[in-house]
């Protein structure tokens, strides 16, 4: 069964067609990866699913129901669509702990008055979240040594991990990771790959990922969709995708340099 089903999605900014008639599915409890060259529309697709961009055409079905265009990003977060960002989007003025707690925001209810008094429901709720964050997330991602630090002081790899922690605090059903291992060294990449697999297996969360590191993509993905110039070229198992001639062409270009150049010029004029 597919937890997320994208059908005929089209998105354009003025004359630029970011996504054209994109259709693919994300099977439940898998690691599904979207690959494709830079500018293929991968992040735009994430932004459509998050509700930040409104596609001109097509539907996104989540758990069997269409996500209407008027469902705003905060509502989608509450429905269980969590994500991390390509350029780390942590809140620099907060500690690691507060950043992670912020992820639980949509599942908390206390209002302004009880917050001002920090009494009764607000206090109990904060304590419950603290316990949850500490014992399920901070422990799992092995970041207990940095919980009191401001995020701005952390290394890139740790920041990525904190961002993952924050997304997990959102209690997601689908976790969208935008380039989770970009810019990491080998050890950090291996850690992250292990976390992603554990999130799928132990937490039962479906992972939808955009990633350029082909080694990792082929190792941990159950399902891959290939995007190029806003269109899905193919989708399937890693082994199928790897040997698909269209995919090779998308990454390496035509063997005929001259026709490639012509094609690029034509694209340039169209834009």
């Amino acid at each position: 069964m597919s937890i997320l089903e994208i059908s005929n999605l089209s998105l354009s900014f003025g004359g630029v067609k970011a996504l054209q008639d994109v259709s693919f599915r994300v099977p439940e409890n898998t690691v599904t990866t979207i690959i494709g060259p830079n500018g293929a529309g991968k992040t735009s697709l994430f932004n459509c699913i998050s509700g930040f961009y409104k596609p001109q055409q097509g539907t996104i079905r989540y758990q069997g129901e269409a996500l209407a265009g008027n469902i705003k990003p905060p509502k989608r977060a509450a429905l269980g669509l969590a994500r991390t960002f390509q350029n780390i989007a942590l809140f620099r003025g907060m500690t690691v702990l507060d950043n992670i707690k912020l992820g639980a925001h949509v599942h908390m209810k206390s209002g302004l008055l009880s917050a001002l008094a920090y009494f009764g429901p607000a206090r109990r709720e904060e304590m419950a979240v603290r316990k949850e964050v500490e014992e399920r997330i901070i422990d799992f991602l092995e970041i207990d040594h940095i919980r009191r630090q401001p995020v701005a002081s952390l290394s890139y790899g740790l920041q990525k991990r904190v961002e993952l922690a924050r997304a997990l605090a959102m209690q997601p059903k689908v976790l969208m990771l935008d380039e989770p291992v970009a810019g990491m060294n080998r050890e950090e990449k291996e850690d992250m790959a292990r976390f992603i697999l554990d999130i799928r297996e132990e937490w039962g969360v479906t992972v939808l990922m955009v990633e350029h590191d082909m080694g990792m993509v082929m190792d941990i993905s159950d399902h891959i969709a290939v995007l190029n110039f806003g269109q899905v070229i193919t989708e399937g198992l890693p082994s199928d995708v790897q040997n698909n001639p269209e995919v090779i062409k998308a990454y390496l270009g035509n063997s005929d340099i001259e026709s490639l150049r012509k094609k690029l010029n034509a694209e340039g004029e169209a834009a």
């Binding site: 930040f52 003025g93 707690k101 912020l102 709720e125």
Partner: protein, 347 residues
């Protein structure tokens, strides 16, 4: 020195005051606040009350500008709304001061929500200009709506009262203003221990990703405006009870800038900074006046020479702080604390 503060429960770890030393200093500080009015002269008492009012208003603006990242030049206008509400209520009703102050805060909060509406679309300097327009508009209403505000002449009001007790002197007002200031700063601190405070900071740091993480921007921006102007309204109400006269000129635009400066000099997004900034902005001009008086016996011309210099020195001090201490006065305090953390063993 601060050692051995390992915690055994999340409850203990989430507390604001985590060590005995901190609690001791806090108790001492509250004791000083309590004893202060009994030992000082009327001038210092007057200043103490002014600082208390400024602390409340600065904390309010800090919530909005320092923590939520929404620059506002409307603070004086919101204080005016609170002051006029209190003045009108005390003339036309017999309500005691706790009720009138809460109503003043709520009235200012309602106006704050209206003024905050553009904040979903405009940010930064553009929002500052939008709030500036609102403050000009409010000033116009204060001056022209004569049947309610008394026009340019303003309103005079009776002293604050509760259970038949009238708070006439500065000495008595001190016992309304300062406890209220302590209470309201504590309440603000509480907000920043909960999801609401985190949402404010998230909006300041990255509003777009805050929205994708599930924070309703309009709702929380308006909440911040409401909370901030509630503080301003209460401060304005206290101002009205303190001076017992309210005119449109009580809340000029320069007052909004005064509070913005207090937030910046103290340290944006830091409650302690708001307190220090409010005290600094209120007391330094007075200290400079005292300095002039102290110099007069030695240099008879000091008043002539110093009075035009006061503003310049004050301005230079602010510029100096911005250059040498861009994170505000609160950062100086944090440095001192870090120094004594393990003192005398290691620095």
């Amino acid at each position: 020195m601060r050692i051995g503060d390992a915690k055994q429960s999340y409850e203990a770890d989430e507390a604001i005051w985590t060590s005995q030393t901190q609690k001791l200093w806090l108790g001492l500080f509250l004791l000083i606040l309590l004893v202060f009015p009994f030992v000082v002269d009327s001038y210092l008492l007057y200043l103490g009350c002014l600082v208390g009012i400024a602390v409340i208003s600065t904390t309010g603006l800090n919530i909005l500008t320092g923590f939520t990242g929404l620059i506002s030049l409307g603070q004086a206008g919101f204080m005016g709304v609170g002051a006029y509400t209190v003045a009108w209520l005390s003339i036309n009703t017999a309500l005691p001061f706790p009720v009138t102050l809460v109503l003043a805060g709520l009235m200012a909060a309602a106006v704050g929500i209206l003024v905050g509406l553009p904040s979903l679309r405009v940010k930064g300097l553009y929002l500052a200009i939008a709030t500036l327009a609102a403050s000009v508009f409010l000033h116009f209403i204060f001056a022209e709506w004569e049947s309610v505000t008394g026009g340019m002449g303003g309103l005079s009001l009776e002293p604050a009262h509760l259970f038949g007790l009238a708070f006439q002197s500065d000495f008595m007002m001190y016992f309304i203003i300062v406890p209220l200031a302590v209470l309201m700063v504590m309440a603000a601190r509480n907000v920043f221990r909960t999801r609401i405070g985190r949402a404010f900071i998230a909006i300041r740091d990255r509003d777009i990703s805050a929205e994708i993480l599930g924070i309703n921007l309009l709702r929380y921006k308006l909440m911040s405006f409401a909370l901030s102007s509630f503080y301003a309204g209460v401060a304005g109400g206290l101002f009205a009870y303190f001076y017992r006269v309210v005119t449109p000129e009580s809340f000029p635009l320069s007052m909004s800038i005064f509070y913005l400066a207090a937030v910046i000099v103290g340290g944006m997004g830091n409650l302690l900074g708001g307190i220090l900034g409010a005290a600094f902005m209120t007391l330094v001009p007075e200290a400079l006046k005292l300095l002039t008086a102290a110099l007069t016996p030695f240099y008879p011309n000091a008043p002539v020479f110093m009075s035009p210099m006061l503003e310049i020195i004050f301005g230079a001090l602010i510029v100096g702080f911005l250059i040498f201490e861009p994170h505000g006065l609160a950062e100086i305090w944090h440095r001192i604390r870090r120094f004594f953390r393990l003192w005398p063993f290691r620095n």
